[in-house]
Amino acid sequence: MSARILSPQTLARSHAPLLDFLAPRTIPSRTSPPSRQRQQLRRRRHHSTASPVGREASTQNHAPTPAQAAASSLAPPTNAATGPVSNASASTTSPPTSPRTTAPVHQLTPTQRAFLSSALRVNQTGELAAILIYAAQSPLLVRKHPHLRPLMKHMYDQEAGHYAFFNRVISKHRIRPTAMTPVWTAAASLLGWSTAFLGREAAMACTEAVETEIGTHYNEQVRVLLDWSAKCSERGESLGPELESLVAELRRIRDEELEHLDHAVENDAKEARPYEFLTEGIRAGCRGAIWVSERV
């Protein structure tokens, strides 16, 4: 399935102007009830989450796609077009080294700057909430289910890395942090603790709901940034090394968040009772928090 999605032919056939391979349309199907789809998805994702090696392999698989996509259909013949995209996909680990010096860097419009500010503010807030949720869940969960200790630690460590990254981005680019930090701190801790109190399944359903929303949010940002990048290259401009490496980072972080989502589903998130109520409630809460944090 992944091979089919990733093949350039499929990409060329779909007329979407933006060809981010994990575009949001895959996400609703991941959380919507039909269980066959779910099974397929689980099988598909399973190999990618089983081990670090598998994950590495899967990112290796994913990596060339955007470049192929750019080559297949975005594909303005100028070099500048492939610059940002291949840069973003070049690697999830190494920051791109001095990309294009020829194309002038696009000056962000006030609207674009406002979008970046609110999006990055939400990201930082989201990661803060995520580490608080995991920190509140861990003691309760691990006590009842000691085998979950490495998983919880792994997820927590990744979130802590994301949080540190967005903290750096926010203070470097002079973005105002959200004024609601105390509220989100309390809410996230309470959410983590109460779902863990309800049991393993509820905690995993919480993770599933939260990561779905966060994944969607990251996907939107990646899409918007790639859209800017495409428009810039049409004009012969480049998006600048900062934003190009930001796209790469956002993709890496999004993939890690979706990996957490898979872990949650593998750990019986679907068994939680009442499942719909829990996940829909938490997702609505997340969307509300995102809406508020974009503004305040």
Partner: protein, 255 residues
């Protein structure tokens, strides 16, 4: 977002002479700051020319419409070109505020590391604030007039925006990395300290403004005392809360 912006512009627009310039400026503040390209200058070229030559007349004529007219003449424009500045004198004051704020970046340089030890953020804030206060020196005998203009109800919001921008600039240049509520408290407290010191400075007759410096140090000292107490209080609450929960857990409670 557009809805709220429209709402605020209608509200503020009724009470302000020209909302058109300051509102985008307000929205741009604390927005994403890119390092990939040089920041555009704060004023359009023609305005910059007139304002900078008008600014040279301020020590003599004060922050008045006369200074603006003389500046326009010096720059080779008609007297009527002061119509570029619907806010009149306030635009001249605003020019001073904005240019001096942006000049801080270049006027204050910190050595990389002294004896392998970084200068503390607090010390940096102090020297940046002092540098900004000293930038008022050439126009200090006219500064009370300027403060009076800034205190007019129409101009209070843009003046406060500019004050907030200055506090933000100082904390940013000092290398502060806070991303929580202290981001707000730091800027708010520095704004109050700065404006109090600025008013004090207009009445300072001591040599080389040593009394102003003393005044600033005392205010910053107060801040540190209060801030340190709040920090310790938070730490204590945090520690007590965690240990309570851990004790209960160790007693076998399923929480």
């Amino acid at each position: 977002m557009p809805a709220t912006a429209r709402l605020s512009s209608t509200i503020i627009g009724t009470s302000r002479a020209s909302p058109s310039r300051s509102l985008p400026a307000f929205r741009q503040r604390c927005a994403y700051h890119s390092y990939d390209y040089a920041q555009p200058p704060p004023f359009p070229p023609a305005e910059t020319k007139i304002l900078s030559s008008a600014y040279a007349h301020v020590p003599e004529h004060g922050f008045t419409i006369d200074a603006l007219k003389l500046g326009a003449r010096d720059a080779g424009y008609l007297d009527a070109s002061t119509n570029l500045f619907p806010r009149g004198v306030f635009d001249l004051i605003n020019y001073h505020l904005v240019t001096q704020r942006l000049a801080l970046k270049d006027s204050v340089q910190f050595p990389e590391a002294k004896d392998g030890k970084e200068i503390g953020v607090g010390r940096k804030v102090r020297s940046l604030t002092l540098a900004r206060l000293r930038a008022n020196e050439p126009v200090l005998h006219r500064w009370q007039e300027a403060l009076a203009v800034m205190a007019q109800p129409t101009y209070i919001p843009p003046s406060l925006h500019e004050l907030a921008a200055l506090a933000d600039e100082i904390w940013f240049l000092a290398g502060d990395q806070s991303v929580d509520t202290s981001w707000y408290t730091k800027r708010a407290t520095l704004s109050t300290v700065y404006s109090a010191t600025e008013v004090f400075m207009t009445q300072d007759t001591s040599k080389n403004f040593v009394e102003t410096e003393q005044f600033l140090d005392n205010r910053l000292q107060d801040l540190q005392t209060v801030g340190g107490f709040m920090g310790k209080l938070g730490e204590w609450v945090n520690y007590t809360g965690h240990s309570t929960i851990n004790v209960l857990r160790s007693k076998g409670m399923r929480i």
